[in-house]
């Protein structure tokens, strides 16, 4: 008899040990909420595939995590989101990349898995596939948070220092609580 199990993550990196409460507590509350959501879905007999999609959608909707709403910004100040999903029993899988308007990229990845013979769909074609399947979309402003605008500004400032080849010691960018590597 195998027992059920679930794990989730909200990104990693050089998270400072003195992370301020106003950044740490909302994330811990979100982790607990998402864990409870996943556990009750498993207990109610949902398939693991449904459970992981459900939990990742919840994390995508939380602005403090780097996915969906709260996605970090490209050098161009835009969002380009990506996601993938895989079913261990059948090894069927789906993935999307370069999304700019899809509210829940993980659900589009699942549609690629279930509605096409392919695994990967990217950029304009992925956006067109989303529209063709009536997936919820939103303006770019839905995904962009003031915090991530600041992060990009700092990252650009940092780069400019390097590009100038001047040799001051680069200012340590203020850490926003999670990794800038996603």
């Amino acid at each position: 008899m195998v027992g059920w199990a679930i794990a989730l993550h909200g990104g990693g990196g050089e998270i400072p040990l003195d992370l301020p409460d106003e950044r740490r507590i909302p994330r811990e509350i979100a982790l607990r909420h998402c864990l409870d959501l996943g556990v009750s879905a498993l207990k109610s007999g949902k398939s693991p595939l449904d459970v992981v999609e459900l939990v990742v959608r919840e994390l995508e909707n939380h602005p403090d995590f780097n996915a969906g709403k709260g996605s970090v910004l490209t050098a161009g100040g835009t969002v380009e989101m990506e996601a993938s999903i895989m079913d261990g029993k059948t090894k069927r899988c789906g993935a999307v990349m370069g999304l700019t308007t899809v509210v829940n990229p993980i659900s589009l990845a699942r549609l690629v898995m279930e509605k096409t013979p392919h695994i990967n769909l990217a950029f304009d074609a992925a956006e067109a596939f989303a529209r063709a399947h009536g997936v919820e979309t939103a303006e770019e402003s839905h995904f962009i948070t003031p915090e991530n605008i600041d992060r990009l500004k700092q990252a650009k400032e940092f780069d400019r220092v390097q590009l100038d080849y001047t040799m001051p010691t680069p200012k340590e960018p203020e850490s926003f609580g999670d990794s800038q590597t996603g």
Binding site: V2, G3, A5, I6, A7, L8, H9, G10, G11, G12, G13, E14, I15, R24, R27, E28, L31, R32, C34, L35, G38, L42, G45, P48, V51, V52, E53, V55, V56, E60, F65, N66, A67, G68, S71, V72, L73, T74, A75, G76, E80, E82, A83, S84, I85, M86, D87, G88, K89, K91, C93, A95, V96, M97, G98, F123, F143, R151, A155, T181
Partner: protein
């Protein structure tokens, strides 16, 4: 990046990962998350979702690595997860969550922290950010 892996009490497995990528990334850059076998992987043995520096995780095919180490070398999930993270690249660039077909869970990372949570049917739960909490 966010991710979730799950196994039910019949041993069925699934994995999912989603991300906005890298701050200030080049427009058009694709990381590890949508690349099956790098950022996400699941088969009959385990399910894995990774987070970290995409380029290192792609180079190390980290998610598939965990499944392969279990399949070919007979490592446990925890051993395979730790080895894959350890070998993935420079310190600070990789973390993962994984479950196995018999209900094991592991969440190793080689950076200061990883926002993570897990639970198992026999009552174990963990919610943490840094290594020792």
């Amino acid at each position: 990046t966010v991710g979730c892996v799950a196994v039910d009490n019949a041993g069925n497995l699934a994995a999912a990962t989603s991300t906005g990528g890298f701050v200030n990334k080049m427009v058009g850059r694709v990381g590890d998350t949508p690349l099956i076998g790098a950022g996400t992987y699941a088969n009959q043995i385990c399910a894995v979702s990774t987070t970290g520096k995409g380029e290192e995780i792609i180079r190390g095919t980290v998610a598939r690595e965990v499944a392969a180490l279990m399949e070919y070398k007979g490592l446990s999930l925890a051993e395979a997860g730790a080895y894959a993270v350890d070998q993935s690249g420079p310190k600070g660039t990789c973390g993962l969550i994984a479950v196995s077909a018999n209900g094991e869970v592991t969440m190793p990372f080689n950076s200061t922290g990883m926002f993570r949570a897990c639970a198992t049917e026999d009552g174990y739960t963990e919610i943490g950010i840094w290594a020792n909490n």
